[in-house]
């Protein structure tokens, strides 16, 4: 039924937005957008792993994302290659490996478009359990490491000196990103997934006065983008995943553009008032 699949899509999208909002804030603060992208690009290898091992594909995606996240953390310790070079190699290397590997599968047909761009309208009841169970776990874990993660983000060396176990915090945070990426795959696909983490957080940054406020706003803005994108997708028959990202982008532009215009306008008003005096 029309109502059923739309309600499931809306519920799933909002669930993902709520879980990814706070994590997205830390990705923005810690300048880790490309890091998230690299993890997301490995998801296709996870699909391949799931098929080859005969396990649940979501499980395969989680395993691969977590493995790549840990590999990235390990490789960042070396000094021969800069981090952005490393991320570039792994992001595109794993995506290419996944595409080539899947092309060898004879017995199973994998719908690549679903994994690349997501298919929120095909969300099932089982997917919802997965999204709300996994998303809830991500939220709880984020809340548990909130204070040390915040301290490490503001100033890592200072936090370390004060006794925060920065290495452990970074590992847990990276694993949470991997889990969030795996959960959000179905909604938006691996190509656009990081945009759902980054754009709402970057929008909220303009409006928030505290980290907690920014996290709440990011989740809310993400949920609004999901609802707006889905409605747009239905109204204009556009692909759902990209429509959600376009809606998020519209909110970002509205917020930042509006604020810039306001500062120009009010700046002039203040300047002219000063001139009159």
């Amino acid at each position: 039924m029309f109502d059923d699949f739309f309600a499931r899509a809306l519920a799933g999208g909002i669930g993902v937005a709520l879980a990814t909002g706070p994590l997205g804030c830390f990705m923005v603060w810690r300048r880790m957008a490309y890091f998230g992208d690299s993890i997301a690009h490995s998801a296709l290898l996870g699909v391949l792993l799931g098929v080859v091992l005969g396990i649940d594909l979501n499980g395969g995606i989680i395993l691969m994302c977590v493995a790549l996240a840990l590999l990235l953390l390990l490789l960042q310790q070396q000094r021969r290659l800069a981090t952005d070079t490393l991320l570039g190699i792994l992001a595109h290397g794993t995506l290419a490996l996944g595409l080539v590997g899947i092309s060898f599968l004879q017995s199973v047909r994998v719908d690549l478009m679903t994994y690349l761009f997501g298919d929120i309208l095909a969300i099932t009841g089982r997917d919802l359990i997965w999204i709300y169970g996994g998303g809830g776990a991500v939220l709880v874990a984020t809340a548990l490491i909130w204070r040390p993660l915040l301290a490490v983000t503001v100033h890592e060396e200072l936090a370390r000196a004060e006794g925060v176990r920065a290495g452990l915090v970074r590992i847990v945070f990276t694993l949470l990103i991997a889990l969030a990426v795996a959960i959000a795959m179905k909604i938006i696909g691996l190509i656009l997934i990081v945009s759902l983490l980054i754009i709402p957080a970057a929008t909220a940054r303009r409006l928030a006065r505290s980290p907690e406020q920014m996290a709440l706003l990011a989740s809310t803005i993400g949920a609004v983008a999901v609802a707006g994108g889905l409605h747009g997708s239905l109204a204009w028959d556009t692909p759902s995943g990209p429509s959600i990202v376009v809606a998020a982008l519209a909110l970002f532009t509205l917020c930042h553009g509006g604020a810039a215009l306001a500062s120009v306008f009010f700046g002039r008003v203040v300047d002219s008032a000063r001139a009159e005096h």
Binding site: W29, R147, T153, E157, E162, G163, R205
Partner: protein, 247 residues
């Protein structure tokens, strides 16, 4: 006199290339010591060795009854992300990490201590201000307040007065002198030799190895400063180009 720190043939460095070579000597408990030397002399490296973020390549640092969690450390200010949406009181309250850990909330007694620390560094009225709206000097005052909360016996400061206004420098030197008066050991990396002469009774001069250590007037001589510059100039480039390697 008991020591707070004892450097025993200490070599510290990065990727097994020493930035500080065979440092030896004692920092007396309750002393106020400046670490000086040309750029690249290994001054900040010594502080990182004391905090434990760098492990010795050779030798060791002995702590005279001071536990690792009794050390407060202020790194160079440039690393703080000023666009982070956090207000002064929350930034300062992070100094209570060892007491409240990751989960406990701030109790009334903690809030009072945060307010006292903010007031002690002259930032009263700035509690709810975002750190992005602070000047460099005001941010440094806030970071000093964070140190005050830690109530540590050993305080390490890495270029605490760089790029801040004269009035803030004077106020923060007042805080440092108060720590010294309370019997805490203070070790500060400094560039301005006039500040060192005026306020720091003892000085440790480095040029990748020890040049001199003792009363400031005896250490900060023209001869020692010239020698330190020459020693550092002989080692232009990465530390390993000096021809010194860890064992």
């Amino acid at each position: 006199m008991t020591y707070a720190l004892k450097f025993q043939d200490l070599s510290l460095g990065y990727d097994r290339h020493p930035a500080v070579h065979r440092l030896h000597g004692e920092i007396a408990e309750g002393s106020l010591t400046a670490i000086v030397g040309p750029n690249g002399a290994g001054k900040s490296t010594v502080l990182k060795g004391v905090t434990g973020s760098l492990r010795p390549l050779e030798g060791r640092i002995a702590f005279g009854g001071i536990a690792r969690d009794d050390i407060a450390y202020l790194p160079q200010q440039s690393d703080v992300d000023r666009s982070f949406p956090i207000v002064v009181s929350d930034l300062v309250a992070m100094g209570l990490w060892r007491e409240i850990g990751g989960f406990a909330g701030l109790r009334a007694v903690h809030r009072a201590r945060v307010a006292d620390a903010i007031s002690a560094v002259g930032l009263e009225g700035f509690e709810r201000r975002p750190i992005g709206s602070l000047s460099g000097g005001q941010l440094q005052r806030a970071l000093f307040a964070r140190l005050l909360l830690q109530d540590a016996r050993l305080v390490l400061l890495d270029e605490p007065f760089t790029a801040i206004d004269a009035r803030t420098v004077a106020d923060l030197i007042g805080v440092v002198r108060r720590w010294h008066g309370e019997g805490r050991t203070v070790l500060a990396v400094l560039h301005d030799v006039d500040t060192v002469r005026a306020h720091f009774p003892r000085t440790l001069m480095l040029a990748r190895e020890l040049v001199a250590h003792g009363p400031t007037a005896q250490v900060l001589t023209a001869e020692n400063q010239f020698r330190a510059r020459q020693m550092c100039e002989a080692c232009v480039g990465p530390p390993h180009t000096c021809g010194r390697n860890a064992a």
